[in-house]
Symmetry: C2
Subunit: 417 residues, 2 copies
Amino acid sequence: MEKTLSLNDQAKAARLAANELIGLSTLEKNKALQEMADALEHRQKLILSENKIDLANGRNKNLSSAMLDRLMLNEERIHQITNGLRQIAALPDPIGSGLMEMKRPNGLDIRAVRVPLGVIGIIYEARPNVTADVAGLCIKSGNAVLLRGGSEAINTNKIISSILATAASSAGMPEGAIQFIESTDRGAITELLHLRKYIDVIIPRGGSSLIKYVVENSTVPVIETGAGICHAFVDKSADKEMAADIIVNAKTSRPAVCNTIETLLVHQDIAKDFIPFIVAKLAACNVELRGCERTRAIYPDMAEATEDDWSTEYHDLILSIKVVDDINAAIKHINTYGTKHSEVIITNEYTSAQLFQQKIDASAVYVNASTRFTDGFEFGFGAEIGISTQKLHARGPMGLNALTTMKYLINGNGQVR
Amino acid sequence: MEKTLSLNDQAKAARLAANELIGLSTLEKNKALQEMADALEHRQKLILSENKIDLANGRNKNLSSAMLDRLMLNEERIHQITNGLRQIAALPDPIGSGLMEMKRPNGLDIRAVRVPLGVIGIIYEARPNVTADVAGLCIKSGNAVLLRGGSEAINTNKIISSILATAASSAGMPEGAIQFIESTDRGAITELLHLRKYIDVIIPRGGSSLIKYVVENSTVPVIETGAGICHAFVDKSADKEMAADIIVNAKTSRPAVCNTIETLLVHQDIAKDFIPFIVAKLAACNVELRGCERTRAIYPDMAEATEDDWSTEYHDLILSIKVVDDINAAIKHINTYGTKHSEVIITNEYTSAQLFQQKIDASAVYVNASTRFTDGFEFGFGAEIGISTQKLHARGPMGLNALTTMKYLINGNGQVR
């Protein structure tokens, strides 16, 4: 029944679907989301058998056990996926909400209303749950989506997207609203990045080399996500125990994710006391430490941090430590090496908190709380499409609103200028 | 006193200036804007003498009289420029305003506040008033700006930007907040488009070839502006006189600007009556007409519109005319050939108005009013940096808010996840 379309034809079909999606009501979209969830549940066995193929291929390719775990589905994980789709159905629909309304002196009514972006291209890596999450968020926000998953999960992604597309279409969504791109070579990405005529935005989700490639090659507008070199700065007035709790949480609770800290900055006035204290706590969690010269003068038993360490996202239980002269040196270090993601100061001084939040250029600037809270669910958005580390359009955790734009509706009775 | 910096050094200096601009108060920025206006007035003679050099060069290069007029300054035009800066000083400061605030169940306070984008690069063509307008808008919104004007106005732009930079700096703005890029070759643009490390956004203002070049070559995020293939659709229920007023205004009041219409679409049920009526009105305004086959069957005395006409922004007193079967055919034509700028339906049917505003994919969708109102001043923004024809970040007329982003400020008392 299905024939393979060229990428250009897929994108064109997505554009036509987007034109139809604009006019659908919230009830119609929610019905589709429910039926998409039902369909995944009904065809669970088929999904698991395709997933087994990916897992076998992964073992043959010697993927790490962490990678295999990310790839693996079971009944519980499929339940989480379908539950996610039902939660998206329950969220408020962003489309059509008014952003401003005014009557001009000449009698013109000008309104700004939220509308879908149109066609969204997502390029993502291993985890197959992203296929369903993103498809659900796009349908809810009235967008057509082109999904381009990684080669490791290709069979799982194909079956999930095919089930979702069929269910969406039989529930009244336009054909082409959810499409998966089957080619796994980089040429397909390059082609996608140049289909400006049909695609409104490309969102890369994955490692820094994927994001860099997309940013450098796309003529379609891009929303960058997920690169996170985050820092904690312990000010001289910090509560020692609170600082330790935050640092341990921000480093160890899930070291592979982007809102984890990579570098600890310590005010010189407390370094002599604080560094041995925090080193003991981190060592107990098996964190490998790399220190600057001043850190190692206080605590010699750790590796030397090189210039590279300040600009590395470890994705691992590794932390670099630097002693800084004062808060201004901390701010300068962060604005130089940070990726504008999440940054925290632990302090008890009002002016330090104020200065840090004003001067740090990042999407989320914390006082006395773990950077791990930078997350769509923790922010109460009910869903997350990624965490934007750029300044245009969306910054920080992106919920449904980030998948929308606006248009002005102007109503008159013959006004001319 | 001044030495020529490399483009990289200029961008780096702008970045450092941007870090300082974040912390300045509205009063400090307004004082600088007033002093920038004063300085231009005091040095008016010098500006006019540099402008004379550009005009002489332009005449030698056989620039059109329209181009020379755009280039030309006189006392009145300088007054308009300084007046513009004083008006910007009087506008509300967007920076620091709260966009949302919530307390999460765990006690975290999360706020989103408006902050400057950082460093803005503007690439623009002939008109020298843009230099001062853009510098003023950037200072007001706390951004550093790299100005790259066209070669025709190079001497005028250099002196204006130099006066503004000196005045801003003596009024307390950081050095490097306003910088002009002196090189007029395209290589300088290409270099600018790759300085992601220092520049947050590039805004091209000019012809479609400039915009295309920027979009295709920039790794810095871009806000596209100003390409306008706009349409008027006369529905079968339209008030004939109102339709004529709107069409004549939207085509003839300022044919070189982007919110002018290029194509008129006429519902077939009224074409026989309406086309001769509107042709007479447009001919009286010296508008050259190009018709589709069905138009010429009704009114043979006009040139044939070719496929090219539907995708041409004339910038001139030329209008193409097409008879369409119904509103759906009009919507399809507009969504195919339009540049997502401004579109209008003239109708007296409620459902037609509703359908048109829902289905047309453009920044401004009008019912019964001229497309010429798509303008920052007409929308009440008090200033305009350009008209965005893209969907990310800003759409339609861009005021000061379009030069800002936001950041989340999260305040806790030791929360971990």
